[in-house]
Subunit: 261 residues, 2 copies
Amino acid sequence: MADQPTGVSSLKTLDNALAVLSEFTLETPTWGLRELSKKMDMNHTVLHRILRTFEGWGYLRQNPLTKEYELGLKILEFTSVVKQRMKLSEFVVPVMHELVEEVGETAFLTLKDGDKGVTVEIVECDRPIKFNVSIGTRTPLHAGASCKVILAFMDEEEKPGVLPESLQAFTARTVTEREALIRDLEEVRETGVCVTKGEFSDAVCGIAVPLFNARRKVVGSLTIAGPGYRMPDEETPELAEKVMNKGRIIQQYIDRFGSFY
Amino acid sequence: MADQPTGVSSLKTLDNALAVLSEFTLETPTWGLRELSKKMDMNHTVLHRILRTFEGWGYLRQNPLTKEYELGLKILEFTSVVKQRMKLSEFVVPVMHELVEEVGETAFLTLKDGDKGVTVEIVECDRPIKFNVSIGTRTPLHAGASCKVILAFMDEEEKPGVLPESLQAFTARTVTEREALIRDLEEVRETGVCVTKGEFSDAVCGIAVPLFNARRKVVGSLTIAGPGYRMPDEETPELAEKVMNKGRIIQQYIDRFGSFY
DNA sequence: CATATTGGTTCTTATATCGAACCACCGGTT
DNA sequence: AACCGGTGGTTCGATATAAGAACCAATATG
C-alpha cells in the first residue's frame, strides 16, 4: 500500500488520514499510537485524533487489551458494494468455477486500475498445492500473465503513462528489457493469450486472456495459474484454449450488460 | 450504512469525509456531485474536494463518461487484511464448507461489532434456492438466529448498551416484546443453540451457535440458514446438532490460536 | 437562444486543526 | 519508593487550513 497522494486539490486532513489508514497492511496489520506516529513522522496528537475518528466510524478498532489499533469490520461493508458494482458474483464467478473444474488450477480475475492490476476475484482449485493470491493485490502491469496481457492490449498512447522508467524484477525470469517486453507483448496480441512462467513468482505458470469494455478498451483479464510442473509446455495450448473459451463467455456477458466501463 | 459519528474527540473534516463515503451503498452505489451534495445538504465545493481526495487515493473513482463517482478498487486491498486478521480463510472457511456439505444449506460467520452483528464470511450451498446474504451486512442483535444467539450469551451488564429502546420489526414474526425476547434468550442459553423462523427474513429458518474469545465473551456466531420448507421442525434438532459440532471445532481453533479478542 | 442543469475552480474569511506541553498509567531499574 | 522511559490520552492558544459564496465552462432541454 503506502500510495502517494495526488497533491492536487485535496484536503490535507483527509490526505493525512488516508495515509494513516494505508499503513494497516497485511505485513503490519496492527499499530500502537506512538509506534505509528514514529513510523509516519507525525505528531502523535494528530495521529490520535485521526485514529479515534476512524474508530468512531468502525474503520479501525482498538484492541482493548493491547491498546493497539487495527482495521475494523466496517471495511467489509464496502466490499459487497464494489463487487456488486463489478457484477462479479452473479455471473462471472460461476464461469470461473467452471474453468477451475476444467483445468484444475486456481483462476482469478484482474482489473486494471491506473497503472496497476488489481486482483478482484479468486476461485481456488481443490488441490493441496495451488497458486495463492489475495483479493485486492496490486501489481505493476509488466510482470505476470494476468498483467502483461492487459498491457499487451492497451492503446499505444496509454502505455507510456503506466510503464515506469525501470521495470522491476520480481524473479530472475521477469522481463526487464524494454525491447524484449515489447516483443513479448506483440506475440500476446497476435495469439490473444499470454502464457508466462515464473515471471512474477518463481515456479508459477500463468495463462491469461484480456477482457474489454464496451468501447473496446482493455479493462482486465481472466487468468489461471498453478505450479509450473503441472503445466508443462506441451499442455499449455490446450489449457490456453480453455481459458480463452471462458474468457469469451465472460466477454459476451460484459458486452451485454456493460459492466467495467 | 449511514452510521452516526461518535461526536467525541473527532476531526470534523474526516467525519464529513467518512459520512460521504458511507453514502456509497448497495442501494445507491453511484453519485453525481450535485446530487450527493443535495442529499447530504453539504456545500458542493466542500463535497467536491472530499470526492477528489478520495479519488486520488483510489477509494473512489469517477466514471469518465457519466462523471458519477463510485467506490474504487482500493477498498478491496483492505478486505484481505481484515480477513487475515480474523484468520478466517485458513481454517474457519474449510470447516464451514464441511458444514454446508453436511446440511445442504448456506453457512455464515457473524462477528459482534458494537451493537451490531456483521456478516464476515459466507459459504453458500449448491442449490438454486438458498439463503442469500452479503459480506459486511450489519444487523441489530435482537432479530435472526445469528444475532440473537450473540445477544443470548452476552454479559447481562453489556446488554442495555446494545438494545435500543424499541425493537425494530423486520417481519411479522420478529420478536419486538422485550419480555418475550428475554424468555427466548434464556432458552437459547440453556440449549446452547438458537433456532429462528422468519424473524429477520420471511420464510427463512436460521440455526446458530455462539463463539467465544479467550476471556469467555461472545464475539460472534456460526449459523446455517435456508428456506423454511427445507428445514421443518422435526429436522431442526438434527441440524442443530451438526451446527453445534462444527461450532465446537471452530471454538477449539479460536481457543488455541486466540483470534477474535 | 435562454434556462437550468451539470462538474469544476477561485479567493477571502473564519474556523477547525495543529502541536507543545501536559496528565495518568505501567513495568523495569536502581 | 523514587526514578526513568515507555505507553495512550488530553488541553488550549496560534495559525494554517478548510468552508462556501460567487464564479466558469459545458451540456442538455425547452
